[in-house]
Amino acid sequence: MKQKLAKLMAQFQIEIGMSYRFPVIEGLAALIFLTPIEAAVLTWNAVSINPDRLEYFVFAEFGFSGMHLGNLMFGLTQLLPILVPVLVSFTAAKSFEDGYIQTLLTYPVERVTVLLVKTICVIIIPAGLLTFTYLFAIPFIIPQAPLISHVSIMLLGVWISVLLFAILSMLVAVITKKVSATAIFGLAFGIVTPILLNNPAVPNIARVVLNPFDAAYRYITNHSSYMMFGTEMTPLIDLQIGFGISLMISLVLLTFTLWLFTRSEIGG
């Protein structure tokens, strides 16, 4: 057991050493940190010019302190569907393309473990950074305590979204074994999802399934798209069902990706 754990840890260390050296993590952290910082600066600027606007930001329009938490992350809800596939392309797809996966598979490792290690890294690193950024930002920007339920909904949205985007991109990487194809998929996904999210014809649950992070943001900010795009506000029950479906889709896709990888030819 101890030896198995040491073996697994060695695989994680190689994955980190191979794929997450400078500037990957640093760049990712900068992107994730800068977006809410930018939102914070804009908010404080507005407030410092006219102190009365504090009330506007806190209560007047949206009524929830959670709105600010959501607003901090708004840029990231749009960025995440692109960011995660690009990260997968730089980590998993790159090792397919440059042949490192071949080297790795000459060692006594299971293919399932190899792909799981890659998937776990590509989920934990961006989702962990997002979680940290989100929690770190709370005391700096919120004039009053956020609702615990809003924090948990937002974080759940973050993790389920990263899981879904990472596994989808991993599937593309395993099928194409190309960096460019995986990155292009990310860009396409990032462009198509906002269009679908803002389309009134798309049901609420489908919108939650497509981007749980964005749905969580919209829910806690009480930011009804109805106002902007004519779509209805997502009720809590739809949010919960959407999260569940998104999670299930992720797990089914993960199983399929692992199955595909164990049968794929490496370096043929």
Binding site: G17, P108, I266
Partner: protein, 302 residues
């Protein structure tokens, strides 16, 4: 029942779409230093990838260290591998990476000892991306020895190396073989190198095992008592000489070159052969003895 062969390949075929990389290949490899020789595209790398479980054969079966290739992970626990132009994590240090690979094998080897064994004791903390091609190959050899293997598979271990680098690599392999007595399989298209260090060889061409045996037997069978003539018109001269002066088994090796078998001293027929050539205005550039693995390979493949 344990097999006396480290690798047994039984009628393996592999197709990549319309391309047949392996064609019912049969091969039995005994313990020792074994060379798999063949031109580019002969199917050497495809065979090694099948043995490692990276790709599946279209048909046929194979055993490595008496285990079926379907038990890929168990096989990989007992072998060390150096692929052709291996990709390694450039940002990791040589020792750092080797240490992790040792852990994956569950071995207790000391990474510093392994690095010293391959002459990389001064580059332990250097990033792999900053190592020269020769040093990277040496690190690859150290990685192949990381798990105390019973068999080592090397695919074109001297590719990308300059002449001194190649010689150093061959010396290292020979030294490691004699020190560890671990069986080593080397796939290469550079015959002169394999002739230097391999006890047994197999010639592969177009996905088939053409000839197999000890290096000396193959040279003796296909290159001893054989001579080669380089001239301006090999086809005409070969026809003229066929059956004359005790010359037999003529093989055309190209428009300007042919080989033949002659049991006695070549000196006795140099003059009559030159006279025959002059009578047809054919210029003989050289008459030479064939006695290398490369010549034997050329004889077999032609």
């Amino acid at each position: 029942m344990t097999s006396r062969f480290v690798v047994e390949v039984d009628k393996i075929s592999k197709n990549f779409g319309p391309v047949q990389a392996l064609d019912e290949l049969e091969l039995k490899i005994e313990p020792g230093l074994f060379g798999i020789i063949g031109p580019n595209g002969a199917g050497k790398t495809t065979l090694l990838r099948i043995l490692l479980g990276l790709i599946q054969p279209s048909s046929g079966s194979a055993r490595v260290l008496d285990m079926d290739i379907s038990q890929s992970k168990k096989i990989r626990e007992r072998i060390g591998v150096l692929l052709e132009n291996p990709t390694l994590p450039k940002a990791m240090g040589a020792r750092e990476y080797l240490s992790q690979v040792i852990k994956i094998y569950g071995s207790t080897n000391d990474p510093d000892e392994l690095l010293e064994l391959v002459g990389l004791q001064d580059a332990t903390n250097r990033q792999i991306g900053h190592l020269s091609a020769g040093m990277r190959q040496r690190l690859g050899i150290a990685l192949a020895f990381a798990g105390n293997p019973d068999l080592i598979i090397l695919d074109e271990p001297t590719s990308n190396l300059d002449v001194p680098g190649r010689e150093q690599m061959l010396d290292l392999l020979s030294h490691l073989y004699h020190k560890s007595k671990v069986s080593i399989i080397i796939a290469s298209h550079i015959l002169s190198e394999l002739e230097q260090i391999c006890t047994h060889v197999a010639f592969m061409n177009r996905g088939k095992n053409v000839v197999q045996g000890t290096t000396n037997d193959i040279i003796e069978k296909y290159a001893l008592n054989r001579f080669r003539i380089r001239c301006s018109d090999a086809h005409t001269l070969a026809q003229l000489l066929d059956g004359k002066f005790g010359i037999e088994d003529i093989r055309l090796l190209g428009p300007n070159m042919f080989s033949f078998r002659y049991e006695n001293s070549i000196d006795s027929i140099v003059l009559p052969v030159r006279q025959e050539a002059e009578s047809c205005n054919i210029q003989i550039h050289r008459i030479e003895i064939i006695a290398s693995l490369e010549d034997a390979f050329r004889e077999v493949i032609q």
